[in-house]
Symmetry: C2
Subunit: 375 residues, 2 copies
Amino acid sequence: QKSFRITVLPGDGIGPEVVDQAVRVLQAVSDALKDVDLKLETHLFGGCAIDATGEALPASTLTACKEADAILMGSIGGPKWGVDSKVRPEQGLLQLRKELGVYANIRPAKFASDSLLENTPLKSHIAKGVDIIVIRELIGGIYFGKRKELGVAPDEDVAWDTMPYSVHEVQRITRVAAQIALVADPPLEIHSIDKANVLASSRLWRKVVTETIQNEFPQLKLDHHLVDSAAMVMVANPRKLNGIVLTENLFGDILSDQSSIIPGSLGLLPSASLASAPSLPSSPNFKPVSGLYEPIHGSAPDIAGKGIANPVGTILSAAMLLRYSLGLDKQAAAVETAVRQVLDDTNIGGYGLRTADLGGKTSTKAMGDKIVEVL
Amino acid sequence: QKSFRITVLPGDGIGPEVVDQAVRVLQAVSDALKDVDLKLETHLFGGCAIDATGEALPASTLTACKEADAILMGSIGGPKWGVDSKVRPEQGLLQLRKELGVYANIRPAKFASDSLLENTPLKSHIAKGVDIIVIRELIGGIYFGKRKELGVAPDEDVAWDTMPYSVHEVQRITRVAAQIALVADPPLEIHSIDKANVLASSRLWRKVVTETIQNEFPQLKLDHHLVDSAAMVMVANPRKLNGIVLTENLFGDILSDQSSIIPGSLGLLPSASLASAPSLPSSPNFKPVSGLYEPIHGSAPDIAGKGIANPVGTILSAAMLLRYSLGLDKQAAAVETAVRQVLDDTNIGGYGLRTADLGGKTSTKAMGDKIVEVL
Ligand SMILES: CC(C)[C@H](C(=O)O)[C@@H](O)C(=O)O
Ligand SMILES: CC(C)[C@H](C(=O)O)[C@@H](O)C(=O)O
């Protein structure tokens, strides 16, 4: 009998709605397995936590996250806690990432079903077959460097931020990218992104990525793109970036949002943030890693409470959770297959369900119902 | 008799080829005007300057640029002077921008001809009507902040860059954006881009942009987008960003490359870098500004010397030069019209010429020939 502790952070806006459906999926998976027991515990995080406790990340939530085998998150933030507020939900998220040490953010962008090709903003022949895993360094760079606000002495009318990277930080995220690349057969190509023609931190990045791959993973293909050029290629011919897009924190923030719109809707895509390289349950030296799993979309306050949000991104995040943190690879794959079938057109044996973000009328719950049913 | 001094910097790769055609266009314009005399002077800049003199920006080139009424540039760089070289062409470009004080980089992205809709990677109905002017702060931020390289003490295994912005720097670029917005009727909307939920420099940016518009240009519409979200919107529904995208240096580098692919090809788009707000020749208080004009594409070493590069971006840069630096608005518009006609499909009275980047076979020179002819 294996027992896993999962901390659930529904968050704000549509967060609770989409998390509900992902929790049902997790529950369905564990019900079907006699020897697995999931203990789910819900905690306050984000704007709702600010309202209730004054803090975005209350101490009890942080403790629950640190003790869990995995964390499933919805989304946080909203106009109520805007840029001018003293305490902001995003600060809680950055603090949580840092405290958990989840330096590796993994955001796959591919078509959950080819029948979504009509929903991509790109011409279908350009989008077809896009299969990019953005691997973003998540707890370094300009997000966590020293900064000075406007109005603080000296130079009160200047504000600045610092973008630092150390050899160690770049080595470890490169290793995560390499290990994920090696799971595929043939191994995935690695496209490293930087602005080495301008930034010192990017020159360090490029040198360390190059040396780490050459010395430790000589079988892998590696190339380098300047971030401006990568942003262009990702629209012009995104398949050129198929494989792994390996990038520092800020560039990864931008490029992963950009890539995530290609497969039809932000609402479809999952993410995992891990504190070490994941292994696959099928590998001989599998070791589950704890991690933070969340859809890549935001809290979408405009549609919150209407029951129309797309739960697929959160459900696929739960699948990543099953795979990387619980070692339940088969079950993860089953969830992914169920999602694909529910999205697939009816003429290829699917159900063709579409939530509002994909131009359809299926509700959040009806989507969850069908996925659980198919599962 | 008005005489203008134009410094021409052909640069590297396809630079000389595309600049040749733009120079022909300028020459044709001045030939048709009895009272205007253009003095063109070519100087070494970029990789070719490194090869000849050891410096990317030789002192004589810099002097010629400072003394000119306007500068027309091709493109610089290439694998020969890569990231690991000691002296790099890009350093020369950054130095030139700084020395000239051209803090306002203007990059319009719109369809030169609607018949290019088939060349955009976006679905036609999504790309149609995109009309975005990116206004990028060009001599501040992380491009010019203090930095430390890997291997330099203390903390030899850390490299860092600083992203500073002052109130003054943000005010002046906001004023350029506002003045360009006001030339249109109705005035263009301003979309300011930042990452204010994380960066101190972005919080300064957002505050100063907001106050400058509110106090000095209350008639203008302004909204704010986080850079990650803007990168997403620019693919999902780019018309939402129609008007002016106002942004700091690094975000502008990324977003302007991204936006530039929408109108069909990088090869089509011009840019201007100015040291003050431009006015229109038709305005009562017109004052020509000196500026640096260049296509937004790079030196494309893979097709250099083949005579197949698209000269339109450089020719449209020359049109911006005529408008902003020489006060020849009518002539600028005539060049733009000629370009449109040469690109327009034959069934709407155009010539439908296409260079290789647009899937066609027209050579660089044939494209220039036809534009000069139509002109
Ligand atoms: C909310 C914000 C701080 C965060 C980030 O920039 O990392 C978000 O955009 C993300 O990508 O998860
Ligand atoms: C060549 C490089 C330094 C430059 C920049 O990053 O500004 C280029 O990408 C541009 O956008 O003009």
